[in-house]
Amino acid sequence: MKRKERILLISLFIIVCILIILIILSLKTEKIKVSREVTQTYFPNIEETTEKREVTIFFPSEEDSLLYPEAREIYLTPSLIQQAKQVILELIKGPENNHLPTLPPTTKLREIFITNDGTAYIDFSKEIYQQHPGGSEAEIISIYAIVNSLTYNFPQIKRVQILIEGLEKETLNGHIDLTKPFSPRFNLIASNKEP
């Protein structure tokens, strides 16, 4: 009897151990799956068309707190959203001339939505504020580089709201209100200034 009991106990123990190991393993694989989703990079698939168009995007400069234009070529996709995405990606990529970047280069563009009344919602990853220097000047310049670059090139876009990780965020780093859409401020563009 005692032997039988022992054998039973040991086999029970082994079964329980195997179960626990299985559970742990399944949990781990689940976690891995989840983290893969989170760290997935966002590469908006831009359709490569043969026709291209020129766009003007705006960057800050060491000279003053205004925005300076740079020309870029983008694919003339039939979709406005795809064109807007290319402008934002160029902005993230940074300046080619002697200008300064305005968005952290690690920022990812998650998605763009444009409503019928002309409000564009630009959804960025969290790096846009986590890697941002903060401060009123830097916030104003970053925001209006986005807003002016879009509204300047696409008359269909009348105002721009910035979302972060799919949600509305109060501010980038405690200054400018992001909870409402921005109208363009072309008076921040250097060439528009009075000589």
């Binding site: 220097p133 903060g134 401060g135 000047e137 780093n173 405690g174």
Partner: protein, 372 residues
């Protein structure tokens, strides 16, 4: 850009070397400023330096002026003279008053450099002027309606704000200046000063505005230090609110501005809460004019302190200002991202100077509104 610049330099180099070109100077007193205009046939590049009672206009190139030295009959100007300094010509303006602000810009056809000089009235502050008897009583009328001032030290807790190149944190600088300003105001004026935070803790932007509104304060002053991608960015800026001027909102705003008195009587009780919420959302809009005046008086003092010459009053849709129902400004004292200004910001002496400058600005604002 570069080519243009190069051409300009060559142009500047050639022309004056042929003959020292003569520049014309004229000036005029206007009701609240004095204008000095330097006119030239060719464009010139220049730098402007100010010290108490004196303005140096360094003109790059070999120029001359009609007269060596000239006494001037003006409210604020005393005399002009000029001298050569290597390849530069320095035009000097001597003023009757030490304290002033200057605004400058250029015009073309013909090329003119315009300097607008404004006298800064020196407020009577007992602490600053020794005994200064009667300082407060002079102000009494101005501060009759001012009972509470809110000072909001930016950031705090896990939100450390911007960071200087050698590690200075914005949240610490803003708190130090706010505490200094509180003690200066309380020593000199019979008003209550409330800080939105007195230690290193997180406070939401909404709560900062609520504190001010719940205290029924008369003035809201948020203190920050600026940050930029530009390494050379420097100087003070004072902001007041600009609205997100979306077309819809502008219409809504115009409606409320025209109808807000009537509205209060007409709302039905069950809707009262909604309407109040909307009005609360636009809390700052009815104070924009006063906010802009407060921004200007404070910025003038900060320009004087830092020797900066730009106007530095700007408008932007700041979250913390939008919900505040009183005159409200946000001061970016200096750029913490600029190594030189970071060093200044870390010194107790400079923090005190900034607090005194803001205090002078507040006094000047109160004086200007006392007439009402």
């Amino acid at each position: 850009m570069k080519k243009k610049y190069l051409l300009l330099i060559i142009f500047l180099y050639l022309i004056p070397s042929l003959e020292g070109l003569t520049l014309k100077v004229r000036y005029a007193d206007h009701p609240d400023f004095t204008r000095v205009v330097i006119e030239s046939y060719t464009a010139f590049s220049y730098q402007i330096y100010t010290t108490p009672g004196k303005i140096d206009v360094v003109i790059n190139g070999n120029f001359t002026f009609g007269i060596q030295r000239k006494k001037v009959h003006s409210r604020i100007l005393k005399e002009f003279y000029w001298e050569k300094n290597g390849s530069n010509t320095i035009f000097k303006v001597i003023l009757k008053k030490d304290r002033f602000t200057i605004d400058y810009f250029t015009l073309i056809n013909p090329f003119r450099l315009v300097l607008d000089i404004k006298e800064l009235s020196s407020p009577v502050i007992p602490e600053l002027e020794g005994k200064g008897a009667g300082g407060i009583s002079n102000l009494n009328r101005g501060i009759r309606y001012t009972k509470t001032i809110i000072i909001d030290p930016g950031h705090g807790g896990s939100d450390r704000g911007a960071r200087g190149p050698s590690g200075l944190l914005e949240k610490n600088v803003t708190l130090a200046i706010a505490k200094e300003l509180k003690s200066i105001i309380e020593r000199n004026l019979p008003v209550r000063v409330v800080l939105t935070r007195t230690e290193d803790i997180n406070i939401s932007l909404e709560d900062r505005a609520s504190i001010a509104n719940n205290q029924k304060a008369d003035m809201f002053i948020s203190i920050h230090t600026n940050a930029s991608y530009r390494k050379s960015a420097h100087g003070s800026e004072t902001y007041f609110l600009s609205l997100h001027a979306s077309d819809e909102e502008t219409r809504r705003l115009a409606y409320f501005e025209n109808n807000s008195d009537k509205l209060e009587d007409e709302i039905f009780p069950e809707n009262a809460e909604d309407i109040k919420l909307i009005l609360w959302d636009l809390a700052q809009t009815s104070y924009l004019k006063q906010s802009s005046q407060l921004a200007e008086t404070i910025q003038n003092e900060l320009n004087y302190l830092l020797g900066t010459t730009n106007r530095g009053i700007k408008q932007a849709p700041f979250k913390v200002l939008s919900n505040v129902a009183m005159p409200a400004v946000l001061i970016e004292v200096a750029f913490i991202t600029n190594p030189e200004e970071e060093k200044k910001l870390s010194s107790v002496k400079f923090q005190r100077q900034v607090a005194l400058a803001i205090f002078r600005g507040i006094i000047n604002y109160l004086k200007s509104t006392e007439v009402k």
